[in-house]
Amino acid sequence: MCIITAQASTTHINADISLDNVGSSDFDIFDDNNEETNNYLDTNEFQILRSAVSPENIIDLLQEIGAFNLLQLDFYLRTYVLNTRDVLDLPAFVKNRCYEYQCWVVGAQLFYDQTSGVYFSPQHDEIEHYLAIGEENVLEALDLLINKVQQLFPTFQFPFIDLFDIFGNARVQERRMGAMFQVVRNFNDTRFTFMVPFYYRERNYFLTDADREAIEALVGSTTEEDQAKLQKDHLISDKIGLGDTRLMLDFPCIDKEWYCSRLGIFATIPTAVTFVNGILGSSYKSKCPPQQPIFSFTDIFNFGSNPSTQQQAVDTAVEFLLGALDRLSAILLDKPLGNNGHFGIAPYYISIVPLSFFIKRPWAEAFEIRSRMSLEYLFPKTERRYFILQGVAQQFAERNFSDPAQATANLAFLETTFVNQFYPYAIEATVQPGLIFWMNSRACYDGPCFSFQVGTDTYLQTSEHLRSLQVSNALRPFLNTCKEQGFWAYQSTVYANLAWTIHRPDDNIIVGLHLADVVWNYGIGSEFTVALTIEKNF
């Protein structure tokens, strides 16, 4: 943007002269013989000044191009952390074989778990349900602003609306792969289980090939190196390390011919530790400082008005926008290993119903219906959460933008508002996760060598609650806590296990395959899991 402000250098000219008493239209300024005009032009040397962009100038221009309308609309529709199911809670790792006759079970399960669309709202996995890039009022305000800018810069062509339309379909994918190490030990009737995963967790933004082609058609393609750099620096988050540890202890409860059950308790110990961060991507929580960045419209205008520094203006704007993308990635992609450091405790109940009790046939003796139910309570812990501010429109209404005396304060307000729209506040808060109810039922066939299981799995987690926000009293009333409030999550999964037991004189080796797929979900993404079990019983 070029600024053409001319200023008289030899004589001070007051720009705020009232027109009331001067009879402004009583002479022709184009008249070469007009003494009045000639004197004035003779005694003043006019120059176009580029550097002295005043706050009033900037406010005027922002108002003129309709930026005020856009600044009053929230860019973030929600700021909560997306619901995910911890690896320890996947049905693939439920151990309820009958190990009573064994002393030790040591095993590892190699697993791959993929969520193709993490849910942004109870029933949607498109990012337009998290960011306001598909909202009609935002698009209208943006369209108006672009039109105004194009009036000033006719060659300015950037298809924001079309891009928003395409980016609105973007999803967040998650992949987890690694090994779940398990040890089971029976002490008479008491069974102790230890589980800890070592795994790689990756999250990335995802667009279909058609969407990517559409973007390339709109803005042109970039080199593969540029794309790879953009993905690593801003679009992928990954890490590798240990997850939380689960310790389980259960005892026989009912032991009848037709029904037996076990009652137990498990604890989730927050042992998660990241060994390597940012292998294919980046770690955004460490990359993005929690402080709000500083953005100066004055700098942008000053750089932009001078052809020799225009690139600096573009670089500053791009740096700001990439920073905003990183803040978004810190919220959506940078999910730690484990369960955010929350200690959990849960009672659980296992029931086994032999089919032979109902069907008196020899083949029925190998069949059982096994179920497992648990209700886990996770203890509160301090976490970093993100908030946008509320009441922005009211603050705009309360300000007098035409008062030159308030111009500096008004510009500072506009700059802060602009930053806050794209950079939600990062605030430490005590998070009370919701209760997790988990039920798992399956029909099992345990033959001498071959066994299989088919079952359903139900997972329900109530929404979390925040308390003790570590924020100043001045800021607290403006935080929009409603948009941070998540929702409950439900998953219904069907799964199947196939296993082959190799009997040896001193031990048994079990090799198995597990497949699971979510068939119904609410508030949490749909995932599928493949796991390969290798287990030694001795």
């Binding site: 001319a6 002269i17 300024i29 004035y40």
Partner: protein, 244 residues
């Protein structure tokens, strides 16, 4: 015969166009939305920008027509050429007359029954070339002066090129001058405007037309910016009141 008609038409047309009299032209109002967005704005066309445009316009008109003689419609040129005061317009007329005279002379010689020697042709050619060179030298000098006069305006408008181009386009369209050099000049890459002027502006006639288009554009622009113009006029009044 055909050539004679062309020469006659040339003399008549250029003489009419280059009449060395200051004419008050009709000023147009530009309708581009850019005007609404910039008019009266400190970051757009402020009274100070109006002042600068009027200063440039006045200086360009001085070059074009000369200095106005008080209580008269006429002007006195500011450039001395062959002992006489000239303006760009009168020099353009001189240039045009020189061309016309040369072509007429050449034509007469060709139609003469007596065959002219190569030396005679050479003398006429050399005399014509000498006068042309003198005029060109003067043109180079005046162009340098023009560059100095418009330097602050051209430099100030850098980065504002897109907007200026739209406004110049509209002004030229309203005045039915779609292929004028003003557009070529303003379309030049930033910082290379003077190169365009040096390379493509080689006759007084073209230069006079360019200066005329420039003053027309500045007038149209000032005339279109009602708020900035009113503010400028208020400042002029204020300045006068202060002097009193």
């Amino acid at each position: 015969m055909k050539k004679q008609i062309i020469i006659t038409l040339l003399i008549i047309s250029t003489s009419t166009w280059l009449e060395c009299k200051v004419k008050e032209e009709h000023k147009f109002k530009l309708k581009s939305p850019i005007i609404g967005m910039l008019d009266g704005k400190a970051l757009g066309i402020s009274p100070r920008v109006v002042g600068l445009m009027l200063q440039v316009r006045r200086e360009v008109r001085k070059m074009l027509y000369g200095v106005p003689v008080p209580t008269s419609d006429s002007c006195i040129g500011t450039y001395e050429f062959h002992g006489q005061k000239h303006s760009v317009l009168s020099l353009a007329k001189l240039e045009s007359e020189l061309n016309a005279r040369f072509f007429a002379h050449e034509n007469t010689m060709m139609q003469d029954s007596i065959a002219h020697t190569p030396q005679e042709w050479e003398i006429i050619q050399k005399k014509y070339e000498k006068q042309k060179t003198e005029l060109k030298k003067e043109l180079v000098h005046i162009k340098e002066e023009f560059k100095k006069t418009t330097k602050s305006y051209v430099e100030g408008a850098r980065g504002f090129k897109q907007q200026m181009l739209i406004l110049i386009n509209e002004s030229c369209e309203l005045r039915n001058k779609k292929d004028c050099f003003l557009l070529t000049w303003s379309e030049a890459e930033e910082g290379r405007e003077t190169e365009q002027l040096d390379n493509k502006m080689n006759t007084f006639e073209a230069f006079a037309e360019f200066l005329t288009d420039l003053t027309h554009f500045l007038e149209d622009l000032v005339n279109s910016c009602d708020k900035a113009r009113e503010q400028f006029m208020a400042e002029v009044h204020h300045n006068k009141a202060k002097d009193k």
